[in-house]
């Protein structure tokens, strides 16, 4: 369903989804639920090379190009982190490298998860976004060459 939506529409969908919850507990429970739908990284890619640096929990993120779009898979050993990476994957998955590179990250703030964006070393949300954008950049560079 989400594949037919634009990136911005998916972001809005998430904002609306989270707006339904008035208290932190429901919001976090929903985030944890989202983590269960995350397209899991294949065991052979669950390696130290694919660890996102800057997270207190471990996050593995892998991407491959498929007919001009980027496909992400990921995993984490912490449930909240897994929810966060799932949220990002839902937004950025199956997009063109250009869409990913140009996407704004304001929606995180509007979902009420702003604290995960702080420069605190313990959490790695910005590191995850950086990593996704780096993948996009690498694939667009490759695309230009071919």
């Amino acid at each position: 369903m989400s594949t037919t939506m634009t990136l911005a529409q998916t972001q809005q969908e998430l904002i609306d989804e989270f707006a339904m919850f008035s208290d932190w507990q429901d919001r976090y429970e929903h985030l944890i639920e989202l983590g269960k739908d995350l397209p899991l990284i294949a065991p052979e890619h669950r390696t130290d090379d694919n660890l996102v640096r800057g997270c207190q929990s471990r996050v593995w993120l892998f991407a491959e190009p498929k007919s001009g779009h980027v496909q992400f898979t990921a995993d984490s050993d912490a449930m909240i982190t897994k929810g966060i990476v799932a949220l990002l994957v839902r937004v950025y998955n199956d997009r063109t490298p250009q869409e990913i590179r140009e996407a704004s990250t304001d929606f995180i703030d509007r979902i009420g998860l702003r604290e995960h964006l702080s420069p605190n070393r313990a959490n790695g949300l910005s590191a995850m976004i950086d990593q996704m954008k780096r993948y996009a950049l690498a694939f667009s560079a490759n695309g230009d060459r071919s």
Partner: protein, 435 residues
């Protein structure tokens, strides 16, 4: 005899203590703050905050340089703080107290200077497996520089030094196997920041001394909880931070025995630490200034003096009542919180406490089967409860216990039983969400 301010009740009046910490009125995510991250940094009583701000409002000037009145006031206030520190840790001389920016700076000073003075190729430095990175890395750097070797006292399952042969503590708790004729320095923590273990430093120092080994104690986690007496410990150097003992951040102390400090070369060069400077060669100022290059954190240092006085006023004022427990009032209160937290947390399915030594300060580190500490910390924060999660800058210790990190609650004089109960309820609520 009793002044109006002096506590008169026999029971520990925690509300009276709490009233002095403005930050405890803060709300976090709309809930009253429960601050259990005191091992990272303690909160500050109003007296300390006022002292620091009054410095800028009425005294501010550079120390030891100006002939003008403010400079004299600043110098006197800073040197008065040095005398308070001296008295608090029972050093023989005030000039044995060197002000630094914190324990990390103190140990770096010690390792750099002692390294230059003592370490030659093939020499050995002994640390323990429960050290904070701040008491590992500076020694690794020094060892690397002089071709010396770092030896590590292993840690038992309960989180204590393994000081006997063949992985068991012998009857005498002998540690001599770690010391040999090449051992030059012993650098150990008084209290473990991750486990809370109070280490038998005095005994180990005595053994080291017999062999002429220089002893350095990392007292970062001890200063706010134990009665630190450097002459009784008989250590050569003792490092601690102000900010873990109710004082401003950016303050620390390196105590050193006079005779050793005289022999140690300076660490940083600059203003204040010299006697004469020509372009060819400089000579060093007297102790403690030889080790205090540059303008110090004057406001913070004065705040540190006030924090120690504040502790003495409250801690020792209550002390007589709890003397039968052999602890200061703060320590007895924190121990009570520790016992309550330990008992209640252990009722939680799958919870394991890391660090079960008999002698502990109010630090409780735990892991829960199949649950990540990051999730616990994040969800506790949503409930207004501040704990520390992660490896606590003790990665080798995490490896020793086979965990990637723990959740740590660390108590201070102002914490309450109700807060401990909130933590336990908070963990249970968190688990309900995660499981």
């Amino acid at each position: 005899m009793k002044t109006k301010d002096a506590p008169v009740t026999k029971a520990y009046d925690v509300e009276r203590i709490r009233a002095q910490f403005p930050i405890l009125r803060e709300l976090v995510h709309g809930k009253p703050l429960v601050y259990f991250d005191n091992a990272a940094t303690s909160q500050k009583p109003r007296r300390v905050i006022k002292t620091e701000s009054a410095y800028y409002a009425t005294i501010n000037a550079n120390v030891h340089r100006g002939v003008h009145t403010l400079s004299t006031r600043a110098t006197e206030a800073q040197e008065a703080a040095r005398e308070i520190v001296r008295r608090h840790i029972n050093a023989q001389h005030a000039h044995e107290v060197i002000f630094t920016s914190g324990t990390t700076a103190s140990i770096n000073l010690a390792a750099t200077s002692l390294g230059q003075l003592l370490l030659r190729k093939g020499d050995e430095v002994v640390i323990s497996g429960m050290e904070h990175h701040s008491n590992i890395v500076p020694w690794q750097l020094a060892c690397e520089r002089y071709g010396a070797k770092l030896k590590v006292i292993p840690i038992t399952d309960s989180g204590e030094w393994e000081t006997g042969p063949q992985g068991r503590k012998d009857a005498k708790g002998s540690t001599e196997q770690f010391f040999n004729e090449r051992t030059r320095i012993l650098a150990i923590s008084h209290v473990s920041n991750t486990l809370g273990t109070i280490n038998p430093v005095k005994k180990l120092i005595a053994q080291a001394k017999k062999q002429g080994i220089i002893t350095v104690v990392d007292g970062a986690q001890a200063i706010a909880h134990l009665d630190v007496d450097v002459q009784d410990l008989d250590c050569d150097l003792y490092a601690f931070s102000g900010h873990k003992a109710y004082a401003p951040t950016g303050t620390g102390v390196l105590y050193g025995r006079e005779e050793l400090l005289e022999r140690m070369p300076p660490w940083q060069g600059g203003g204040e630490m010299i006697e004469t400077v020509t372009l060819e060669k400089s000579t060093w100022a007297k102790l403690p200034f030889k080790f205090e290059a540059g303008t110090p954190h004057i406001a913070g240092i004065i705040g540190l003096g006030e924090a120690l006085r504040w502790m003495e006023d409250y801690d020792f004022a209550f002390a007589k009542d709890s003397a039968e427990q052999g602890k200061s009032a703060f320590a007895a209160h924190e121990h009570m919180l520790l016992e309550r937290a330990t008992k209640e947390l252990l009722t939680i399915d799958g919870l394991r406490i890391i660090g079960t030594a008999k002698e502990k300060v109010g630090v409780i580190s735990f892991v829960i089967e199949d649950v990540h500490h990051y999730d616990i910390g994040t969800l506790l924060d949503q409930q207004g409860i501040a704990v520390r999660t992660g490896h606590h800058c003790t990665q080798p210790l995490m490896d020793r216990f086979g965990v990637s990190g723990t959740t740590r609650a660390s108590f201070a004089c102002f914490n309450t039983c109700a807060e401990v109960d909130a933590l336990v309820a908070g963990v249970k609520k968190t688990l309900k969400m995660l499981r």
